[in-house]
């Protein structure tokens, strides 16, 4: 993906990506932990606040509920007359300013001193305590839940709040206490005492709850009905469940169920009033069984954290931009010299060693690299200069060697047939040089009209010394070979001369033959040379393996021996150097004498040249792709005596 991009881009991309990832992780972790801590502390605060509000509510409701209980006890203790009951109720209401009304309703069929059709109700009218007997409404009133529920449950309790038409539609809540009378020795339900209280004071307590800008408190009853709320339209009209249904918020419904189940908790729900996700802390009210909820909008709860987060993001962005600029600057500082270096390298590669390199201050890696490059430039320059000189020298040497080789080759006879008028013999010789100038030699010449002198030699070593030694050997042979001399004598004289001033201790294997053209008598002398082969006219092969004698140039005192043998018409004698038998193929196997003998057997040519070429072709075929390591020299003499 980024293969074609520069180092600066790659460096910036990966470092910034890494930093961004690191920042994101830190930001996320910090944000989560901070949020949890804030919510935890908020819950504690809300809990303390709710406890304080609950205490206030309880401290107001408990004395009111005790009015009803005291009145019930009063009615249970003895059978009072209407006047006594009325007077007691009136006094109770006068003494307890928080109560709005007080009522006693006897169960039908209960015999009392007050008589039937007595249901006193004292309530606070406009500035005074008023009285009404509600016994006329008994049928309806006795079906009311304020009467029915405590009667059926057989216990005192706070009922559900209701709008009181007679009290300007105030929200009223009643605490109803059943009272009992002994009838036939048994405790029997005798009626209900109820005390009414307006919930205006409750609203004023709860409305004081304010958390952040728009957090608020609310109270729901045991059935989930809302009795205090900053939105007056919700009070008594909605329950927390109807709101949940209207808003389609199952979480709010679940919260409501926990609230009416009397549980405490801290839950996250959508609040329709605030039109925001909010946190609801709820706690039950022990006396009424209602639930107080403190609602805290999440946005406001986490506002500081979110502001902090915004600042952090801003700082991070600025940091990243700064980092980007720094990375770009540094990477350019790195890459610019590298680019110049690369250009210089290219220029140098094109042969311009004087290309200018950048000047880099300091001792960092780039500066070191630049210095190294400068040294390399100088060294390379020197090396190339040396190479030029060496090459020139080498070229000169090679030229000299080529000339030497040409001279060397010029010293051996190359005209064939050499003696057109001598039909007794057919001579052919060749040197196939290796890459380097070698020291192989061959020669043949007539010492007199009937005697052919022929020789093959191989000087030790390579190069010019070997070439010179070979030239000297040929010159000496030509100088020393005189009529009537034996082969061994000629070899001994050549040896003696070669040994003189041979300070470099070179030597030469040598084979010399003197053939009497008339008779076919062959006198030959070998100085450590490879034994030649004679292929007789009948096809048999004969190797001339004499007693080994030291090569020429080693010692003046060597006594050489010659051997006489006869060549018959049709016989072929083949002289060669070790370049033939030691020719290697690519598997480094030697051509070898057995293969050479076999080759000679297979040749059926009657010409020296053809025989020689046949041998060369088999050697070439054997060597294949292998490089020739030594000169190959072959001299073939085909004796016919009278040109037969």
């Amino acid at each position: 993906m980024f293969k074609s991009k520069g180092l600066a881009f790659k460096l910036s991309f990966w470092i910034l990506t890494g930093c961004l990832l690191l920042f994101f992780l830190l930001f996320w972790y910090n944000s989560r932990i901070s949020e949890k801590l804030i919510i935890k502390y908020m819950r504690e605060n809300a809990s303390q606040l709710a406890d304080a509000v609950s205490l206030k509510i309880e401290s107001t409701l408990n004395p009111i509920s005790r009015i009803s209980e005291n009145l019930a006890v009063y009615l249970e203790q003895s059978d009072h007359s209407r006047e006594e009951i009325s007077s007691f109720m009136h006094d109770l209401l006068v003494r307890n300013g928080d109560a709005n009304g007080l009522c006693v309703m006897f169960e039908p069929g209960i015999s009392t001193a007050a008589g039937s059709g007595f249901a006193p109700y004292f309530f606070r009218g406009d500035g005074a305590i008023e009285y009404v007997d509600i016994s006329a409404d008994y049928k309806t009133e006795s079906l009311g839940e304020w009467y029915q529920i405590p009667r059926l449950l057989d216990k005192a309790l706070w009922g559900e709040p209701y709008f009181d038409e007679d009290a300007h539609n105030q929200i009223i809540c009643s605490y109803s206490t059943p009272f009992f009378r002994p009838v036939d020795g048994k405790k029997r339900f005798a009626g209900i005492v109820t005390v009414d209280v307006s919930l205006q004071w409750l609203e004023s307590i709860v409305s004081k709850i304010q958390i952040f800008r728009s957090g608020y408190g609310m109270i729901v009853t045991r059935t989930g009905r809302i009795v205090t709320h900053p939105d007056k339209n919700l009070i008594m009209n909605e329950s927390i469940f109807s709101l949940a249904e209207h808003l389609n918020e199952p979480e709010l419904r679940a919260l409501g169920k926990n609230m009416i189940a009397g549980q405490s908790g801290f839950a996250r729900c959508f609040c329709g009033y605030l039109n925001a996700v909010s946190w609801f802390y709820h706690t039950p009210q022990s006396s009424t069984g209602w639930s107080l909820a403190i609602v805290i909008p999440e946005d406001e709860l986490l506002a500081d954290l979110r502001s902090l987060n915004k600042i952090l993001i801003l700082i991070a962005l600025l940091g990243l931009i700064t980092l980007l600029l720094m990375i770009t600057s540094i990477s350019r500082r790195i890459t610019n010299p590298l680019c110049v270096l690369a250009q210089a390298a290219e220029t140098i590669g094109q042969g311009n060693f004087n290309a200018l390199l950048p000047v880099i201050k300091g001792h960092d890696e780039i500066a070191v690299c630049n210095e190294s490059f400068k040294k390399m430039q100088v060294t390379l320059h020197e090396y190339i200069e040396n190479l030029k000189k060496t090459t020139a020298a080498k070229e000169k040497i090679e030229s000299d060697l080529r000339i030497a080789h040409e001279i060397q080759m010029g010293m051996v006879p190359k005209e064939f047939p050499p003696f057109p008028d001598k039909t007794e013999i057919d001579v052919f010789a060749t040197i196939v040089p290796a890459k380097e100038v070698g020291g192989d030699l061959y020669d043949f010449f007539l010492i007199d009209d009937n005697t052919l002198c022929f020789a093959v030699g191989d000087v030790s070593g390579k190069g010019v010394p070997a070439s010179l030694f070979m030239a000297v050997t040929i010159s000496l042979l030509r100088a020393k070979a005189m009529p009537e001399m034996t082969a061994s004598c000629i070899v001994a004289q050549v040896n003696r001369k070669l040994c003189e001033h041979n300070e470099s201790l070179m030597f030469c294997t040598f084979f010399l033959g003197l053939l009497d053209l008339r008779t076919g008598k062959l006198q030959c002398c070998s100085a450590g040379h490879n034994p030649p082969y004679i292929k007789r006219a009948d096809g048999s092969i004969e190797g001339l393996k004499f007693k080994p004698i030291c090569a020429l140039g080693i010692s003046q005192d060597i006594v050489y021996e010659h051997h006489d043998l006869m060549l018959n018409p049709g016989d072929i004698i083949t002289l060669y150097t070790d370049g033939v038998t030691e020719a290697e193929n690519i598997d480094q196997h030697l051509y070898g004498e057995p293969r050479f003998e076999e080759t000679l057997k297979m040749t059926c040519c009657n010409s020296a040249e053809n025989t020689t070429r046949k041998i060369l072709s088999t050697i070439k075929e054997f060597a294949g792709e292998a490089e020739q390591s030594d000169d190959i020299t072959i001299l073939t003499l085909f004796y016919t005596r009278n040109g037969e």
């Binding site: 309806t140 079906l143 009311g144 839940e145 029915q148 529920i149 009667r151 059926l152 449950l153 309790l157 009922g159 559900e160 709008f163 038409e165 539609n169 045991r222 059935t223 989930g224 009905r225 339209n233 008594m236 009209n237 909605e238 329950s239 469940f241 109807s242 709101l243 249904e245 209207h246 409501g256 169920k257 009416i260």
Partner: protein, 326 residues
């Protein structure tokens, strides 16, 4: 063609072709209960100008459990009223000269609710339990349910509140599917927590609310009666087509009540309107029609329970066949 039919056709053509007179006819309508979506069709007809379109100026009065709709009809404070079939039939049989102009609710919304947590899940579980029962004409249906299912239950007379059930004062309570059932759901009960005995599933599916007036009113102002019924049914159609507007108008009526304040909850009124649609638009049953068979069954039930001595003639009771809308 019979002369009566010709007369009806004439009336129909007349009522449609005659433009609304400059002076609309002033009539009053008294629902049998507090303002709520149970009467949404009438509110819509009034607020959306449907009554006006028919040349009527309708004043919708404030009903309550204490309001005696028959007294109101007789003393002239109300011209039209809404009442359940069982109540209307009972009053007619007891000598009140009223007629049913249109049968709006075709099915029963009555049900008995219990708590599964109390071990109530089937009808037989109701035996030995207490039941909160309204002291209104629906009680005959409750008694019939208990009789048919051979149950033994303790009756606890209750007013309209369900709190006595919610607080655990009674084991079961009678309820209407469009009202009390939903109040209980919105007091923290899940529908799965409740054992519901729907009267439609117990061969007690009787039509409920209809439009009533005095026989004299019908005979003397037949045209006005027809217009009121048609406009009211149109009002119901309009309410079902525009439920949100209908609920808004219901809430407006509830919040502006002059008498006792009643809870005004959008969720509750929306539920009520949706349920009423199911009770009014029942399959292929024409809106406004009263099934004679249901009428006779209801009459027989009242006879069996000795609530009435004789079933009034169907044609004397129901005068709404000309206004039935398919």
């Amino acid at each position: 063609m019979k002369p009566a039919l010709l007369f009806i056709i004439f009336l129909l053509i007349y009522s449609v072709s005659t433009p609304a007179s400059a002076e609309p006819v002033k009539v009053t309508f008294l629902p049998q209960w507090y303002h709520q979506a149970q009467f949404a069709g009438y509110y819509m007809a009034e607020k959306k100008g449907i009554y006006k379109k028919y040349g009527l100026e309708v004043t919708i009065l404030e009903g309550s459990p204490d309001a005696n709709v028959y007294d109101s009809l007789q003393n002239g404070s109300a011209v039209f009223t809404s009442q359940s079939l069982v109540s209307g039939l009972k009053k007619k049989a007891l000598g009140l000269d009223i007629v049913c102009l249109s049968q709006i609710l075709q099915k029963s919304s009555l049900m008995i609710l219990g708590k599964k947590a109390d071990g109530i899940s089937k009808v037989s579980d109701l035996s030995g339990r207490s039941i909160g029962i309204w002291l209104c004409d629906f009680d005959v249906l409750i008694h019939e349910f208990i009789r048919k299912n051979r149950l033994s239950m303790t009756y606890v007379p209750v007013l309209s509140s369900v709190n006595i059930f919610l607080y655990g004062g009674i084991d079961t309570i009678n309820a209407l599917s469009y009202n009390e059932y939903h109040q209980i759901i919105n007091s923290g009960f899940e529908s799965s927590d409740l054992a519901v005995f729907d009267f439609n599933e117990f061969d007690l599916s009787f039509p409920e609310d209809g439009i009533y007036c005095l026989k004299n009113t019908f005979e003397q102002s037949r045209e006005v009666c027809d217009k009121f019924v048609k406009a009211s049914i149109e009002g119901w159609s309009c309410a079902f087509e525009h439920p949100e507007q209908a609920v808004d108008i219901c809430l407006y009526y509830i919040r502006n009540m002059k008498g006792a304040r009643q809870p005004a909850s959008r969720a509750q009124e929306t539920w009520m309107l949706n349920k009423l649609k199911e009770l009014i638009q029942v399959g292929d049953v024409p809106v406004g029609n009263l099934s004679e068979e249901k009428y006779r069954l209801m009459g027989q039930l009242l006879l069996d329970q000795k609530v009435i001595a004789e079933v009034p003639l169907f044609n004397d009771f129901f005068k709404g066949s000309v206004n039935v809308q398919k």
